[in-house]
């Protein structure tokens, strides 16, 4: 197992390499000049040139790339071109909110979606099935920000049950954290619930046709046990997979949710950085999210082995 983990991590290296190179080229080969953004309204070409020089942006691309990778290997993510702060610090400030939303969303979505999917599959073809599926498709068809505004309008402005926006660290007490986390989580969960419920249903339907489900029934145990003990555990692998691949979706959703609810997370940091051509920040962020993605998928593979004894590495 440990060996496997190690190998997987090693296998992730080329992936990260691809990401790094791609991001770097994408950023540097497309127009956009951080110097101009920095300098402001009356910058002369000479001044821009000098600023570029002081930022190291006029070196040849290869040199810039090597410098960056070299620093990266030494654990240095560089300094923001715009705010002059160390990138690592900027990211550090922003990680908690994003992780909070992501985790809350996943937890909520799983808690809601899996039972929905199971019920839909169990009652396959009945109106319950159609209702659940209709509901989940509906969740899939509304942009996150629309859902977000609706929730704010109703629960924060009209009913005043929760604050409109913002974020409080969970370390400063659960109450304020929870209050501010609940709407964004709901907004973001919508699409996720849809995704997971559908996947659960499909996987359950597959599994319900398997021989061992028939065996279980032939044993005379009750339907709930058949569903939970026999079907769901076997359906878990594709469901977990979709949770993993849905992670990319989640990251997109987080960006929007962070804007709507004004949550100072890494999603917005990246969007801002892209808009400002703050190369070191963008590079670090995309690398980081890719890394998270890789790690999440690694964890999911580990989860496979726990769920399904046939999968061994």
């Amino acid at each position: 197992m440990l060996g496997y983990l190690l190998r997987r991590i090693l296998a992730a290296v080329p992936v990260m390499g691809v990401v790094a190179l791609f991001v770097f080229l994408l950023l540097r080969l497309t127009p956009g000049d951080p110097a101009a953004i920095l300098a402001g309204d009356n910058a002369t070409p000479e001044r821009l040139e000098r600023i570029r020089e002081s930022l190291g942006l006029n070196e040849p691309l290869v040199v810039q790339f090597i410098t960056w990778v070299n620093k990266l290997l030494h654990g240095d993510l560089g300094t923001s071109l715009i705010s002059n702060l160390p990138v690592i610090k900027m990211i550090g400030q922003r990680v908690e909110p994003s992780i909070s939303i992501a985790l809350c969303t996943i937890v909520l979505a799983v808690i809601v979606a899996v039972p929905l999917g199971v019920i839909a599959a169990w009652k396959h073809g009945t109106w319950i099935d159609r209702f659940v599926m209709g509901l989940s498709v509906l969740g899939f068809s509304m942009p996150v920000f629309v859902v977000g505004y609706l929730l704010i309008q109703v629960f924060a402005i009209e009913l005043r049950w929760v604050p409109v926006q913002g974020f409080r660290s969970i370390f400063n007490g659960f109450g304020p954290f929870f209050e501010r986390m609940i709407l964004p989580t709901c907004a973001l969960s919508f699409i996720y619930i849809a995704l997971i419920a559908r996947m659960t249903r499909a996987a359950m339907l597959d599994v319900l046709g398997e021989d061992y489900v028939r065996t279980a029934r032939a044993k005379g145990i009750n339907e709930v046990a058949v569903m939970m003990r026999h079907a769901l555990r076997n359906a878990a692998v594709p469901v977990i997979t979709v949770i993993g691949t849905g992670f990319a979706l989640l990251i997109s959703g987080v960006v929007v949710t962070e804007s709507v609810f004004n949550i100072p997370g890494i999603g917005r940091l990246t969007v801002d950085a892209v808009l400002a051509r703050d190369y070191p920040v963008i590079q670090a962020m995309i690398l980081l999210t890719s890394l998270i993605y890789v790690v999440v998928n690694l964890l999911i593979d580990v989860a496979y082995t726990l769920l399904d004894p046939r999968i061994r590495y």
């Binding site: 956009g32 110097a35 705010s83 702060l85 900027m90 922003r94 924060a156 913002g166 004004n262 400002a276």
Partner: protein
């Protein structure tokens, strides 16, 4: 602990060196942390702030004397040397500063409290330059910081202003935090614009970034924040109905919005085509789309802002009346315009800049232009407008921007009206020796009347050559919760001194 004022500013603070960039938010940050030698009052009159001054009779020597009790945030006393270094750094990059330096023979610290500025010839705008209220402002900082090359950002935020910057809590794009500078000794005079006594009455000011104005409005309504610098016009009816809020325009002169063409590339290298474009424009449509509220918009043909000393309507005829379209069509037909599409950059992420390109595109099309409206974000506009390449290679033909009134209210402050071309000219690189001559004459003019006349001439020339197209003025309403008292108006920046908050 203590009183905390939470504000949402017009944009997020990311660059915190106020000399390094012209971004308004950085200027606002500057006013929190730094102080100026002199500053204008609400009558445009320059008043002493950190220093008092004397002018020699030949008008060639200005002597500034620092007042007592000034201290940097790190505890060191403010010295004349610090200020000289600060002035030099500022003058190296600011337009008016550069102009001032052209006339300056020397600037020295003659003793710990005295700064002596010697001119080569009399120059009427010395105090106006040093006290100018908008970007870039001549902020004072310790010498060790002021010696940072102007192409690099200063490493620390140490000023002598009424608030201190809390570096540890600074999260670009999220929030910036200031605490009351308890060592600050305000002037005795009442506060008036950026002059007078800057008395910090709250202990802490937090600027929160809210990328979405809708969110910010929600937050203001629900009391999450105390102050919002720019309210979206369309939300005003809702907000005005809210008894807990106060809505007011703090900057009475507002902003000028303008369109600028690129003089380097066809078709706008041809003055006839530029004229046709000018004729096609009208301020009403632009303002209606941008503001849509008569209370906050003002049709104004003056390049140097209506209701200011240099205001004149000369040459603004069709723009103001909105009746030039027929003429524009004719002019375009005669101009030799060959149908080259005009690349207009349209930023989608800044509310005060979204409407202009769209309206302009429509008007230009109506006049017979072919328009390629390219949607981007503002930062892209900012970096792309610096490109002198042809539109096909990443250049551009036209973009729009806004200036706060003081930044354009005289021909020297007004960056956009130069004629220096590629050599130091503003984006678009208009080359017009006549304007440069007139500007020169303007700075040498000794009386206001003379200046006014020259300003009118400049405006006439600017309209003739279509240096840029003023598209009207607008005011930005700010809003705050009624728990705030003593909110001051100002020339450009929202002021956080004198404001108190009741719990």
């Amino acid at each position: 602990a203590g009183k905390t004022l939470t504000a949402v500013m017009h944009s997020d603070l990311r660059i915190i060196d106020p000399i390094f960039t012209t971004a308004y938010i950085t200027r606002d940050h500057g006013y929190m942390v730094y102080d100026t030698l002199v500053a204008p009052d609400s009558n445009f009159k320059i008043q002493p702030q950190m220093a008092d001054w004397k002018i020699s009779d030949d008008k060639l020597t200005y002597t500034f004397t620092l007042r007592d009790g000034l201290k940097w945030h790190d505890g060191a006393p403010v010295t004349a040397e610090d200020c000289v270094a600060s002035l030099k750094r500022w003058a190296a990059v600011d337009g008016m500063g550069q102009k001032l330096m052209d006339f300056t023979a020397s600037i020295e610290a003659t003793d710990a409290k005295t700064i002596t500025l010697k001119l080569k010839e009399p120059y009427g705008l010395v105090l106006d330059s040093i006290g100018k209220p908008s970007s870039r402002v001549a902020f004072m900082m310790p010498k060790r910081l002021a010696e940072t090359p102007a192409d690099k950002q200063i490493p620390e935020q140490i000023g002598s202003g009424p608030f201190k910057f809390v570096q540890g809590e600074f999260q670009p794009g999220v929030k910036a935090v200031y605490v009351k500078n308890t060592d600050y000794v305000p002037r005795k005079e009442p506060a008036s614009w950026t002059s007078g006594g800057k008395v910090a009455k709250v202990d802490r000011v937090e600027w929160i970034t809210m990328p979405d104005s809708q969110t910010a409005v929600n937050a203001l309504q629900s009391g999450d924040i105390d102050f919002m610098e720019n309210l979206p016009y369309d939300m005003l009816p809702v907000l005005e109905a809210n008894k807990e809020l106060k809505i007011e325009v703090l900057n009475k002169f507002g902003y000028q919005t303008l369109g600028r063409m690129n003089f380097l590339h066809p078709p706008f290298d041809n003055v006839k085509v530029r004229r046709a474009a000018l004729l096609a424009m009208n301020q009403k449509d632009v303002l209606d789309a941008l503001v849509g509220n008569a209370k906050y918009q003002k049709i104004c043909g003056a390049f140097f802002i209506c209701d200011t000393p240099f205001a004149t309507e000369v040459g603004a005829d069709t723009l103001v009346k909105g009746n030039g379209m027929a003429e524009a069509k004719k002019a375009l037909a005669e101009s030799g315009y060959d149908g080259t599409p005009i690349v207009i950059m349209a930023p989608g992420d800044v509310t005060t800049l979204k409407a202009q390109p769209i309206v302009a595109a429509q008007l230009l099309r109506e006049a017979g232009f072919k328009v390629d409206l390219q949607a981007t974000d503002w930062q892209t506009v900012v970096s792309r407008r610096a490109s002198q390449k042809p539109p096909k290679e990443g250049g551009w033909n036209m973009f729009f921007t806004n200036w706060v009134a003081p930044d354009v209210s005289n021909p020297i402050a007004n960056l956009s009206i130069g004629g220096q071309g590629k050599k130091g000219g503003w984006f678009g690189w208009a080359e017009d020796p006549k304007i440069e001559q007139l500007k020169d004459a303007f700075v040498r003019a000794s009386t206001l009347d003379e200046q006014k006349k020259i300003a009118a001439d400049i405006q006439k020339e600017a309209y003739e050559q279509v240096i840029y197209i003023p598209l009207g003025q607008y005011l930005l309403p700010s809003g705050w919760r009624k728990s705030l008292t003593g909110v001051l108006d100002g020339p450009a920046t929202p002021l956080f001194w004198n404001v108190d908050k009741s719990e």
